[in-house]
Each structure stands twice: as structure tokens, then as C-alpha cells.
């Protein structure tokens, strides 16, 4: 009787192994297909508190300074975020983007730190945001991957993106346009005066 019961338990255990193996394979395939279909679209993120100057700033993501600074918000559970992390670190990567920091939004610190280690983000300025408290509390941002663009420490733009190069081009273009606005205003004032 005991041998029959043991065999039944062993069969169930083997069935569980099959399920996990199939789930792992599925997970790996979903990751691959996500990379193939990467979009270069950069969309504004609705609902973010534009104009907000944060009360606190994690020092490990770098100094926002007086110019432009971009914070990439990734999550430890989204497949697109793993792809973003790969874009940041794999050749040629974006290590030359000096005014950028990464926030990893996660439910537990060790999961976030695992994400950093697993995707080689340790070399970039980063901050593990447990519970997403900083990004949601300061800016009401609950989406990832997303990008928060600051100017003079003030949130001036929030975007959803999937391609870091496309985001970088969009941010640079937006900032160049913003730089020209005061010049236009000054010229207009001078002409009117």
C-alpha cells in the first residue's frame, strides 16, 4: 500500500516538474518576442505631477543639478523593463548619458537588488524604490518603464517608452526646444519694446 502511495506522489512530483519546465520555457519565449517587437514610440505619461519639485531626492541616482536630468523608472516584474536594462548596459549601452539615473520600483529590496545584479545595472546611478513609494508619492507615477524628465530639479515631462535611444533623442529634442523658448520670448519682447 505504501509503495503505491509513494509512486503516486512521485508521479505528481514529476508532473509538477513538467509544469515548471513548461512555464520556464514560456517565460523565456515571451522575453525573446518582447525584444523583437520593441517600439520606438515615446508617449506622454498621463497623470504625472508636472511642475512638482520633489521633497526628497535619492542621492544614489545622481544630482539633478540645475540643468536637465532624466530618471528611468523600471520595475522588477515587467518584461519590457528587463529589455530596457539590457539596452542600458549592453554594447554600446548608455553609460555616456551623464544626466540619467535609474529607479527600480519593487515590492522587496532584495528583489530590486537582484534585478540590479542580474541586469548589470550596478555601474549606473540607481536607486531601489521599495513599494514604489518615491515615484508614486512624489510624482504619482505608477507605470513602468517610464521616464521622468527634470529641469532645474522640477518635473517637466513624463513619458512611457520602450527604446532608450528613441527616448534619449526625444528628451534631447524637447530640451533643445525648451531652451529656445526663453530666447524667443526675449526677442519678441525686444521687438515690441
Amino acid at each position: 500500500m505504501l509503495i503505491v502511495l509513494s509512486c503516486a506522489v512521485l508521479v505528481l512530483a514529476a508532473g509538477m516538474v513538467v509544469l515548471f519546465a513548461m512555464f520556464g520555457e514560456l517565460s523565456a519565449r515571451v522575453g525573446e518576442s518582447g525584444m523583437v517587437e520593441r517600439s520606438t514610440e515615446v508617449r506622454p505619461l498621463e497623470g504625472a505631477r508636472l511642475g512638482q519639485v520633489p521633497d526628497s531626492w535619492p542621492p544614489t541616482i545622481g544630482d539633478p543639478g540645475t540643468g536637465e536630468f532624466t530618471v528611468l523608472v523600471l520595475s522588477s516584474v515587467c518584461a519590457s523593463c528587463a529589455d530596457i536594462a539590457a539596452q542600458l548596459t549592453e554594447k554600446p549601452g548608455h553609460a555616456d548619458w551623464q544626466t540619467m539615473g535609474v529607479v527600480i520600483s519593487t515590492s522587496h529590496r532584495d528583489v530590486g537588488e537582484n534585478f540590479v545584479t542580474q541586469h548589470g545595472l550596478g555601474g549606473l546611478p540607481h536607486y531601489v524604490d521599495v513599494g514604489g513609494e518615491w515615484v508614486s508619492g512624489e510624482f504619482d507615477v505608477r507605470m513602468s518603464p517610464s521616464a521622468l524628465v527634470f529641469r532645474d530639479g522640477r518635473l517637466v515631462g513624463a513619458y512611457i517608452f520602450h527604446d532608450v535611444a528613441a527616448l534619449r533623442a526625444a528628451v534631447t529634442g524637447t530640451m533643445a526646444a525648451a531652451d529656445q523658448e526663453p530666447e524667443k520670448e526675449e526677442a519678441w519682447t525686444e521687438r515690441r519694446g
Binding site: 509513494s6 515548471f20 512555464f23 520556464g24 522588477s76 516584474v77 515587467c78 523593463c81
Partner: protein, 184 residues
């Protein structure tokens, strides 16, 4: 059963757990091992078809299960030792050629390339044949009952350990990801 028989049953259960997990992984995901084999030996990559990898996986499962049944444990132990020698050789080849691709030895979730893990696990499995020969006869029913029960536990525990990152990601997912953008 003597305490020595329990130790033998536990060792057989541990070996069976490794072989069942590895065998099932190869049946479900043969692609990664083929890729890793092609990286260390282009000829090996061509010869190692998906059907051959699945056949190897099935052989691992059968050999592992055979270790648990007292009547067939000696031929099963010979097969396990042969498989162990193959794993060790493949691991040594991976070390020599600087393998970098995940070998998929325990499924698509693992990221380890061919290397020291294969060498040591293979070496441990090679011991199956000499250990069973040296141990001599065991009480047939008692040994099988103990080995099958212990193997069930070991298979589940090893499976959970190997898939811990997948389980952690599922358990700790704070919110579901939308179609393309994850909601934190």
C-alpha cells in the same frame, strides 16, 4: 531496514531528483543545450539534434527512476554512471572552451553555462555504480518504499529551488503588467 540502507535510499533519491529535473527540462526545452553544445563544439552542435536531446532527457528520467527500484537498480546505476561521465566531460569541455551560453541543463530559467557545476554533479553521479556494487543487497520492498518516498520529496524540493527566481517573480509581482507597459 538498517541505517546504511536508509542512507543508500536517500542517495538514490537525491540522484533521481537531479536526473528527473534535468531530464524533464531537456524534454521540454532542448534548444538551450543544443546552443551550448554548438558553442563548445560546432560538430557536436550539428550532431546533437532536438530529438537526441529529448532522448537523452528520457534516458535520464528512466535511469533515475530505475535507481529507486531495488530489482533494477544495478543496471540503472551503470546507466547513471555513464550519464554522469558524459555530464562531467561536457562541463570540462565548456570550461576549456570558455562556454558563455546558458546550458539549459535544468530548464530555460537557469542561466549557468557548461562548467564546474556539470563537472561536479557528473562526478557525483559516476559514483552511483561503485556505491551500489559495494553496498551489496538491500531489503527489496523496504528499500523501494523508502527510496520512492524520499525521491518524491527531493524532486519537489529541487524543482522549487531551481525555479526560485520564477516563483519569486510570480509571488512578489505587486501588480499585473499591462500589454506593453508594466504597472508597478
Amino acid at each position: 531496514m538498517r541505517s546504511g540502507d536508509w542512507v543508500l535510499a536517500a542517495a538514490a533519491a537525491a540522484a533521481a531528483a537531479v536526473l528527473v529535473n534535468a531530464g524533464v527540462a531537456k524534454l521540454v526545452s532542448p534548444g538551450q543545450l543544443r546552443g551550448a553544445a554548438a558553442e563548445v563544439s560546432p560538430l557536436g552542435g550539428r550532431l546533437l539534434t532536438a530529438a537526441l536531446v529529448r532522448g537523452l532527457g528520457m534516458a535520464e528520467i528512466v535511469a533515475g527512476m530505475g535507481l529507486l527500484i531495488s530489482q533494477v537498480r544495478l543496471p540503472a546505476a551503470i546507466a547513471v554512471s555513464a550519464l554522469g561521465a558524459c555530464f562531467s566531460a561536457l562541463g570540462a569541455l565548456g570550461l576549456a572552451r570558455g562556454s558563455s551560453l546558458p546550458c539549459g541543463c535544468f530548464g530555460a530559467v537557469g542561466a549557468r553555462p557548461l562548467g564546474w557545476t556539470n563537472v561536479w554533479l557528473g562526478a557525483a553521479l559516476v559514483l552511483a555504480w561503485p556505491v551500489i556494487v559495494l553496498a551489496g543487497p538491500v531489503p527489496a520492498l523496504g528499500y523501494s518504499q523508502a527510496a520512492v518516498l524520499l525521491a518524491s520529496i527531493a524532486v519537489v524540493l529541487l524543482c522549487l529551488w531551481l525555479n526560485r527566481s520564477l516563483i519569486a517573480a510570480l509571488r512578489r509581482a505587486p501588480r499585473a503588467e499591462t500589454a506593453r507597459s508594466g504597472v508597478r
